[in-house]
């Protein structure tokens, strides 16, 4: 039985032409935009501020160690226009989140830009994505 806290690595070919999406103020070169993984964990903080909203998620890896993932979303104004609010995530929420992982193996990911937001499910309910 799959652990509730396990990281499910879903490798998908992501035919996302980076330049066809309007990138964040700093671009996406640090992330593997052709790979999407799924994080299962608990939100520890949700920073709704510029330049990018950041959500931190405690995720247990395959060894059972808890890793602190920092997941980047778009700026608040842009997230609002995609249906999110500052209350979309709260500490303690159980979340299943898709993200493009950092190329260097750091527990950092990109889940939202101005024209795209990967799938997030919070306590079983889906947040807006595009």
């Amino acid at each position: 039985m799959k652990s509730k806290w396990s990281i499910a690595f879903i490798v998908a070919v992501w035919f996302l032409l980076v330049s066809s999406a309007v990138s964040a103020h700093h671009g996406t070169s640090g992330y593997d935009m052709e790979k999407v993984i799924t994080l299962n964990g608990t939100v520890t903080s949700f920073n709704w501020s510029n330049p990018h909203c950041l959500v931190r998620i405690d995720v247990k890896d395959s060894k059972g160690d808890v890793k602190d993932w920092v997941v980047e979303l778009a700026a608040p104004t842009l997230m609002t226009r995609n249906g999110w609010t500052k209350d979309s995530l709260k500490p303690g929420d159980e979340v299943v989140a898709e993200t493009h992982p950092a190329k260097n193996g750091a527990t950092t990911g990109l889940s939202g830009a101005s024209t795209s937001i990967l799938k997030f499910a919070v306590n079983g309910h889906a947040l807006p994505f595009r």
Partner: protein, 265 residues
């Protein structure tokens, strides 16, 4: 004869009164009293917006809008040296490592043409003597004067000196007096303080705005070039997204650095 005298007695006062009225209307005001007269145009196109960017075109090079070959924009040796020193966040040379993008590093104003490339809206407020362009990103705005020419020796500033006119359905903005501290686009193309910009802005239909920008900068580019972008009218109200250096630095520590330094095992 008496009729002629009567006529003169009627006409002369009228002429005297009318002359004084004419004189009052034709006296040239002192420069400090100059009013902004409405431009003599039959129709002023409604450019209000707000307008949102469509798609990713990080470069103003018309032959390479996606910035895949940014070094191929014909630059002078001066500009090429500056371009090679740039570590931009977008385009073929994009990096997270030691980015020296002045906006990201210092929260410097992005500059007029670079503002067209961010995923934030802009809008126009049109009045007879001046058009104000408002930008969500970093809360910038600039006036475009419709009733004067450029100063003979304009200051070099972040937003320059802009004058404008309507040509049919097109709003033409002429800008000089820009400092050389900004990039013209997201891939790090530089410009000098000799840059002369011509923006041609036309509302193609109710929901579409076409912006054509001509860059004339003989110190930086071997010949003028013109890029074109399209924007869509947005239903979202304008908001301000400020650039805070403390927030940028915090983000740099929390995200940018962790994605450039290999994590310890």
């Amino acid at each position: 004869m008496p009729n002629c005298k009567l006529t003169l007695n009627l006409i002369l006062p009228v002429i005297a009164i009318f002359s004084s009225v004419l004189q009052a209307q034709t006296v040239t005001p002192a420069p400090s009293e100059k009013k902004h007269d409405a431009p003599n145009v039959a129709h002023v196109p409604d450019l209000s917006g707000p307008w949102a960017v469509v798609g990713g075109t990080p470069s103003w090079d018309p032959s390479d809008p996606r910035g895949l070959k940014p070094a191929e924009l014909p630059m002078t040796p001066w500009a090429l040296e500056k371009f090679k020193a740039a570590r931009p966040p977008f385009g073929a040379n994009a990096t997270f490592d030691a980015v020296n993008d002045p906006v990201q590093k210092y929260c410097d104003p992005p500059g007029i043409t670079r503002l067209y490339g961010y995923p934030w809206q802009f809008a126009f407020i049109q009045s007879p003597g001046v058009v104000y362009v408002l930008y969500e990103f970093t809360g910038l705005w600039r006036p475009v004067w419709l009733d004067r020419e450029h100063p003979k020796s304009p200051d070099s500033t972040w937003m320059g000196d802009s004058i404008g006119r309507y040509e049919g359905d097109t709003f033409v903005i002429d800008t000089v007096g820009l400092n050389d501290k900004t990039w013209i686009d997201q891939v790090g193309h530089p410009h000098s303080d000799a840059l002369h910009l011509i923006e041609r802005i036309r509302r193609v239909d109710q929901d579409t705005l076409e912006v054509t920008v001509t860059f004339d900068d003989p110190k930086a580019y071997t010949k003028p070039f013109t890029g074109k972008r399209v924007y869509k009218r947005s239903s979202s109200p304008m908001e301000v997204t400020l650039c805070s250096l403390s927030e940028m630095q915090s983000f740099d520590d929390e995200v940018m650095k962790t994605t450039t330094v290999a994590p310890k095992k």
